[in-house]
């Protein structure tokens, strides 16, 4: 046992001069860190249980608490870091695969931060978005490619089903089960208020949210949880989940413990049973099978819904996307390797896949090379952190972006990356009723609307600065971007010039 002892990663610092032993921290911590000592009448802490989620810190009325990273350390070693050593101990002790949550936290390059945005000076005017028209409305879906006219010479509206977005941001898939009812309620309401869409994830659609159907993308994943006719027809679009950026190539597993009565109904599986999503769709082993699933969904819904296909950004993403574009899909969603998740094996999360910036650039260029870019829209996700990332993605070629981690942060997530434990103190990644009720859907909805509205304003400011007053003129406009500190190879893949060029 002593070999397995791991010194707690965080220390709970309590200022005794401020602590009034009100015991709020104790009640707020689902992990059981804080305890009131009856003998001494003082608060104590078991920091070994602390996940650094800041719930206690945020709610402490006297600001008596802070959480700091411990300075207890292994002997310094650039190769065998403390992290590497403790992971060995964990696995030697349990024989388990390392499991973690949310996006890849490793210090790998973030290309968004090495791309700079242009602005107009002298040769054409910038535009003031607060006073002049500035358009960010976006349509997702297949473009017709040819014009048809009726006998009178009028244009026949031969468009495939389209989704209209008032802002080029959607909330990406997070299942009911991985996140709470109240989180879904907030996302659904916000999507409707913002004129955009949220995504059910693979856990089905709760009966209470059918009313938000026109702002809902219903997902079909390999487990087919909650997938039936009414569900397929409830949404504005159907998304086939082939992969997820945080864990390309593997399935998912919602433990039976989290499958309570409500989730059971939504997923359409018995209470308390494991919900296992196989790694593949077992009816898709090849590209022509994807076409089969796309068309089976279109047939089942009378060709009324656009079909999205979400893939993880992997090495061969451009060729895969080309195949997807030819499969009848209306929208391709590319999820980069920094995308979040409720639980993923650490090694997969941190080592499999590629950054969305490179994947997006490669896919957009490939589809243009093949002359089929108009057949599909592209949605990029996998760590879009702010409006500048959003703008850069659109300039690289995305039609819109998916956000999820940013949305959870807006709801109160503090990125403690412990979703897998199911004890989220912020009421997000949990199914415990007492924790879920901490997230007020009304507040959550308002904060999501605030976030996206703020981004939209920033997007418009930046577009205006470039002299662009409509999102179409930004899309794929890579001349508006320059790289900073990138190699020629990286610039070539991104299809941008270096700053100063």
């Amino acid at each position: 046992m002593p070999i397995d002892f791991l010194y707690p990663e965080y220390e709970v610092i309590r200022n005794p001069g401020r602590c009034i032993s009100c015991r709020i921290c104790e009640r707020q911590c689902a992990n059981g860190v804080h305890l009131f000592d009856d003998k001494t009448k003082k608060m104590t802490a078991d920091e070994s249980k602390c996940v650094c989620c800041h719930r206690c810190v945020s709610l402490c009325p006297t600001r008596a608490l802070k959480i700091v990273k411990t300075d207890h350390a292994f002997k310094e070693n650039a190769n065998w870091t403390g992290k590497a050593i403790t992971e060995i101990y964990r696995q030697a002790g349990t024989g388990g695969m390392l499991l973690s949550s949310m996006g890849n936290p490793e210090p790998q390059p973030i290309y968004w931060d090495k791309i700079l945005i242009n602005a107009s000076q002298v040769t054409n005017p910038p535009i003031d978005p607060l006073r002049e028209p500035m358009e960010t409305r976006t349509f997702l879906g297949k473009k017709p490619g040819h014009i048809e006219r009726d006998a009178q010479g009028n244009i026949v509206p031969n468009l495939s089903p389209q989704l209209a977005l008032d802002v080029p941001v959607m909330f990406s898939a997070m299942s009911y089960g991985s996140i709470s009812y109240n989180s879904h309620a907030a996302l659904a309401r916000a999507a409707a208020a913002l004129g955009t869409y949220y995504n059910t994830g693979e856990g089905g659609l709760h009966k209470d949210f059918y009313g938000y159907g026109p702002h809902t993308i219903v997902q079909v994943a390999s487990g087919r949880f909650g997938v039936y006719k009414e569900y397929l027809e409830a949404g504005a679009a159907i998304e086939i989940k082939m992969g997820q950026g945080a864990k390309p190539g593997i399935g998912g597993h919602l433990p039976g413990l989290k499958v309570g009565p409500d989730i059971s109904k939504t997923r359409m599986i018995p209470e308390g049973t494991d919900a296992i999503s196989p790694a593949p769709h077992h009816d898709i082993y090849s590209i022509e099978d994807l076409r089969q699933l796309v068309y089976s969904l279109k047939e089942a819904t009378g060709y009324q819904k656009p079909v999205f296909v979400k893939i993880a950004a992997v090495h061969n993403v451009a060729a895969i996307a080309s195949g997807v574009a030819r499969s009848g899909a209306d929208v391709i969603c590319i999820d980069g390797y920094r995308g979040g998740t409720g639980a993923a094996p650490t090694r997969i999360r941190d080592n499999v896949g590629i950054p969305v910036e490179l994947a997006l650039a490669a896919v957009d260029q490939r589809l243009r090379d093949e002359g089929i870019r108009g057949q599909v829209s592209i949605v990029a996700g996998g760590s879009i952190r702010n409006s500048a990332d959003l703008l850069k993605a659109i300039a690289l070629g995305a039609d819109a972006c998916y956000i999820a981690t940013a949305a959870l942060l807006a709801l109160g997530c503090h990125l403690c990356r412990t979703c897998q434990a199911g004890k989220c103190n912020w009421g997000i990644a949990t199914q415990r009723p007492d924790l879920v009720e901490r997230l007020d859907p009304e507040t959550g909805y308002q904060r999501l609307v605030n976030l996206v509205t703020a981004w939209d304003h920033e997007l418009k400011e930046m577009m205006g600065g470039m002299g662009i007053n409509s999102i179409e003129a930004l899309r794929g406009n890579r001349l508006m971007l320059r790289g900073l500190g990138l190699t020629q190879k990286e610039l070539d893949i991104l299809g941008i010039k270096h700053a100063g060029e």
């Binding site: 082993y285 090849s286 590209i287 022509e288 099978d289 076409r291 089969q292 068309y295 061969n316 060729a319 895969i320 996307a321 080309s322 195949g323 997807v324 030819r326 090379d369 093949e370």
Partner: protein
């Protein structure tokens, strides 16, 4: 934009085959009808056919089918062929104009035999000599590509839906005892015709459905033996593997199947001792040639046809029999459409080859 061979392009597909054990030769119309029912398994970016027994009047000559991008490539290739072969006949391959088949290269056919003196000097077995010459042209002569090089057989392929490709090549004018066909669903540009299936070397021809996950492990091994995987396609690698194991290592077809679609260890362990030892030996001796990931393939060869699924059977394939004719296709409907009343129809298990050959006295 990079073309096939400069970049690896995965593809999915449909396959179909018809084989007459008695050697009765039929025109290409039935196979075209068969593949056309699986239209939705292809995307119009590649289709092709292989027919065996189509050149009885030149049965003892290697029939080279060649694509040329330019006249200069043709001149260079013909110089090379003249230096290494006795060319007894050369002509354009007859085609008919087709609205959906475009960007055609020059397509020529040569009936050849190795120049005796050159063959002697090379100290190679005749087939090895021919194979090396074909690989050399394809690897080194820019714009020339020999896509068929067997005796009394030929490959016909193009960018397009297979039924259109069949019409383009006027396959109703050829008679074969064995036909295989492929409709391709590549994830790439309407690029180069050479990338379509079948892929062929000598009298081997392979059509394939699926994307193998072992590709580069297989490729890097097989290239040690003089093969050059110019197209970077699965089919090309599989063809070379089969040629290497069959022609150069002398394995039988069932043994080849046990190498490339080797049973799982748990399955091997459940077999009787002698078979277990043999399977263990094969899997171990040719470990780099285990092919993983989905595939169903039809391997045509002189006098026979082999169908094989990957060991997990990740692709569909059914086999039907009627009299002495055997039908193999990705979907049952592709067989029923040409032969509604079959004597027998079944789906072979993963990794278990179906091998059909001409009856004695057939052909």
């Amino acid at each position: 934009m990079l073309k096939e061979g400069q970049v690896r392009i995965p593809a999915g597909c449909a396959i179909s085959g018809i084989f007459s054990r008695s050697g009765a030769r039929t025109s290409g119309e039935a196979i075209i009808k068969s593949i056309s029912t699986m239209h939705d398994r292809s995307n119009g970016l590649g289709g092709g056919f292989a027919g065996y027994g189509i050149y009885p009047e030149y049965a003892d000559f290697y029939a080279f089918h060649v694509f040329y991008d330019t006249q200069a490539a043709r001149d260079a290739c013909e110089d090379f062929l003249e230096a290494h072969f006795d060319i007894v006949n050369l002509s354009k391959i007859p085609t008919r104009r087709h609205p959906r088949i475009t960007d055609e290269p020059m397509i020529w056919r040569y009936f050849v035999n190795p120049l005796h003196v050159k063959l002697e000097a090379s100290q190679l077995d005749e087939r090895e000599y021919v194979a090396r010459c074909v690989i050399r042209v394809n690897d080194q002569l820019e714009g020339a590509y020999i896509f068929s090089s067997g005796k009394n057989m030929g490959v016909f392929k193009a960018s397009g839906y297979p039924e259109d490709v069949g019409a383009y090549y006027r396959l109703e004018e050829y008679s074969a005892y064995s036909w295989t066909c492929h409709g391709r669903y590549p994830t790439n540009t309407p690029g180069w015709w050479g990338g379509a299936h079948p892929f062929a070397l000598l009298d081997w021809s392979v059509v394939h459905n699926g994307e193998i996950s072992s590709y580069d492990a297989n490729r890097r091994f097989i290239e040690m033996f003089g093969y050059k995987c110019n197209l970077l396609t699965d089919t090309e690698a599989i063809t070379y593997i089969i040629d290497y194991l069959g022609r150069r290592q002398g394995l039988t077809l069932p043994e080849i199947a046990q190498v490339i679609a080797a049973p799982f260890w748990s399955t091997i362990e459940s077999r009787p001792a002698e078979e277990r030892a043999r399977l263990t030996y094969l899997r171990n001796a040719f470990a780099p040639l285990l092919v993983t990931g989905p595939f169903s393939i039809l391997v045509g060869f002189d006098g026979g046809l082999m169908a094989l699924n990957d060991r997990l059977k990740l692709r569909s394939m059914v086999v039907g029999e009627k009299g002495d004719t055997v039908y193999i296709a990705s979907e049952e409907c592709a067989i029923r459409v040409i032969e509604p009343s079959l004597d027998r129809i079944w789906a072979p298990r993963g990794g278990e080859p179906v091998i059909v050959t001409l009856d004695k006295g057939g052909k």
